[in-house]
Structure formats: structure tokens, C-alpha cells
Subunit: 233 residues, 2 copies
């Protein structure tokens, strides 16, 4: 019997900066380096890894583009561990959509699927705290609109809170990506306050259905809501 081919993958000799970025990455994944921790300065890292500063810098670029660190210059600056992977995913998805010319319809179809699933899981797994967060989101949005202000960010947040309530981290990640891309699409057209208001009303109904665990009814409302938003583009 032949051996699984995949064990031979990637024998390509690594470049020094790749090796270094991988080493630091492992330390982050293992929890040795936690969010907020500061890495040594470029010079120190160069000494420790016994390479030049240029090599260290390229390794840091990789970690930056992987959404694992942020770099600040000036006094007290330096590289700090900070998880921004989902931000990077969003950025790449945007690129992919531009390159592969993904249409808004394709995006909407995928969004419908995922939001449906999220709602279904949320019905089963939402706890009191989730319900409270969702209700608070709606209240704050309504207050803004009463003051004749847009509630865009809160309306996006509603869907993220639903994802939280699903208790599935995959959905949380995917929803974050969807939100960011949706935000990107939306920013290209002029917004009006009426849209915000319509959205909040839909959210309120969806929350009610979630509490009463009315699956079918809520999901068809959710679909309606998403398709209404899509039409406005």
C-alpha cells in the first residue's frame, strides 16, 4: 500500500525570515506569548535569533499580515501581540471578491445560508445573557434613531450578537467576515436613516421570534430582511 502523499508536503527550504515568523507564531499559538505582550525590539530579536535586522523585519511583516501583531513606532512603541486574524481574512476576502469578481448576488446567497444556520443554532443555544445583549442592542439603536441619527454600526452588531448566541466559533468568525464585507459594499452608496429604522424593526421581530423559539417564522423574516437590504444596493 502506498503512503499518504501529504506527509511529503513542503520540503521547500524555508527562508530565515519564514523560520523566525513561524517560531514566534508557534509561541503565540502555544500561549507562551499572549495578547498584549510586547516583543523585544528588532535589534534584540536580531541578536537573539542571530540574524540581521532586515531579516527580523521581514519576519515581522509576515506576522503583521497574518494578523498576529501590531507595530507602533516612536517612544514606548514596538511590536505587540494582538489578534486581528479576522480583520486580515476580511481584507483578503475583499481582494478575492475584486479579483474573482464575486457578485453581490453570490455574496448574498452565501450570507443567507450562514445567517439561517446561525439563527437555527441561536434558537437552541442562546442563554439569558445573549437575549439581554440583543435587546440592549435594539434599545440603543432605537434611541439613536429617535434622535434622528444613523444606527449602522449597531445594526451590524446585531448579527454578530446572534452569531455569539449560536455558541459556534466558526459562525462567529464567518459572521465577522460577512459583516466587514457587507460594510464595505454598503459604504459605496449613500445611506439614509430610513434604512436604519427598517433594519431595527426587523431585528426586533427576529429577536421576538428567537425568544419564542419560532424557527420557521423567524427564518423567513430573516431572509426577507437580508433580501430587502440586498435590493437597496
Amino acid at each position: 500500500m502506498s503512503v499518504d502523499k501529504t506527509i511529503f508536503k513542503s520540503v521547500k527550504r524555508q527562508r530565515a525570515f519564514e523560520e523566525i515568523s513561524l517560531k514566534i507564531k508557534e509561541l503565540i499559538f502555544e500561549g507562551v506569548l499572549k495578547s498584549g505582550d510586547k516583543l523585544p525590539s528588532e535589534g534584540d530579536l536580531a541578536k537573539q535569533f542571530n540574524v540581521s535586522r532586515q531579516t527580523v523585519r521581514e519576519a515581522l511583516r509576515i506576522l503583521e499580515l497574518s494578523g498576529l501583531i501590531v507595530v507602533k513606532k516612536g517612544f514606548g512603541g514596538g511590536t505587540v501581540i494582538k489578534n486581528n486574524i479576522s480583520g486580515r481574512i476580511v481584507s483578503l476576502l475583499s481582494d478575492a471578491f475584486r479579483m474573482e469578481k464575486v457578485s453581490v448576488d453570490e455574496f448574498t446567497a452565501a450570507r443567507l445560508t450562514i445567517e439561517r444556520a446561525i439563527f437555527n443554532e441561536a434558537v437552541d443555544n442562546a442563554d439569558d445573557r445573549d437575549i439581554e445583549n440583543l435587546r440592549e442592542n435594539i434599545d440603543r439603536a432605537k434611541n439613536l434613531i429617535a434622535k434622528n441619527e444613523m444606527a449602522t454600526d449597531l445594526n451590524f452588531e446585531f448579527h454578530s450578537l446572534l452569531a455569539d448566541a449560536s455558541k459556534n466559533k466558526v459562525f462567529v468568525i464567518l459572521e465577522r467576515a460577512i459583516n466587514a464585507i457587507h460594510h464595505d459594499i454598503r459604504s459605496r452608496r449613500t445611506a439614509d436613516i430610513k434604512t436604519s429604522e427598517t433594519a431595527v424593526r426587523a431585528h426586533e421581530k427576529i429577536l421576538g421570534a428567537l425568544i419564542r423559539k419560532e424557527r420557521e417564522k423567524a427564518i423567513s423574516m430573516l431572509e426577507q430582511h437580508i433580501l430587502t437590504v440586498r435590493k437597496s444596493y
Copy 2:
């Protein structure tokens, strides 16, 4: 009425290498630089942009991590435009799942959702060529198994081909990510040929249902198939 906050985003002064990477990126998106085109050497780029080679190199690292170029060393080497964005997305999703410690059950739940949606879309949109590719995949897998060899890669490919048939590029990207992560999970346990065989038989039935457009029946088989695989972990 208050103005949308997002119009003020990112006034952060760009670093030179960011500016350069952005400029090249735009040329790629505009189609001025096409897949297969070779960029000038690092030295030439440094002269043209009037910066040092170090700066150019960091810009190239960004483009590399963005899945837009590949770099080859030595004579006849250099930087070539090549789209590998989805590969990068997959890699980042894997990172995100590791960071957030996504469980196999969470992953399986999300996978079920997406594969169900893919199959549904595939029923509507698959053309003759898709069917042919799926059938060929199964035939080749069966041939391997007849020779007592594993058909792991082909079995993964089957699901990718289904995603292709859905004609939704978002699903194609998501399915690739699922495959990569699944592959990662699977590699941690010993594989046996019986699993390959079971999978191919399931694939064959699913293809049959796809051709006959038997939605419900096929989807429940698909679910069964995915859950069987999950149990083996």
C-alpha cells in the same frame, strides 16, 4: 444628523513599503499586470520607486502574503504575478480556528451547513461538465482502491468539485478552507483504506441523487456521510 464615522477611517500615515505594495496591487487589480507577468528585479524596482532594496523587499513580502505574487530565487527567477488569494484565506482561517480553539464538533456543525447549501445550489446549477468531473473523480478513486491504495486526496476533491458545481465563488473559497482544515484534523490520526472505500461509495450515491435532482434524499445522505467521517475521529 451625524455623519457616518467610517469616512474618517485610516488616516494613518503609510509606510513607504505599504505605499509601494498598494501601488503594485492596484496595477494587478486594474489588469495592467496579469497573471504570469514578471515584475522587474528588486534592484530595478528600488531604482524606479526611488527607495532602497530593503523597502522593496518588505513591499514584496506584503504582496506575497496577500496571495498576489510568488518569488523564485536564482537565475531566471524573480517575482511573478500569480493569484493565490484563496490559499491565503485558507491559511488564515486555519490560524483563526487554532487561536479560538474551535472544536471538532463546532467545525462539523459549520461544515454540515455549508455543504448542505453547496449541494442545494449544485442541484440547480451543475452542468454536464461538472457531472463529468464528479464521475471521473469517483472512477479514479475506485481504481486506486481496487489497487489497495488510499484515495484521500480524491475524496477531498469530490467536495471541492461539488462547490465548483454550485457556481458560487464564495462557496468555492469556503469549501477549500473546510477541506484544508479537515485535512489538518484527519492527519492527526492513522488512516485506513476502509474509510476511503466507504467515502467513495457515499460519493457515488450522492452523485446519483444530484443527477436525479433528489434533494432531500441526497442531503440526508450527505449529512450521514459527514457525520460518519466525524465519528471516526
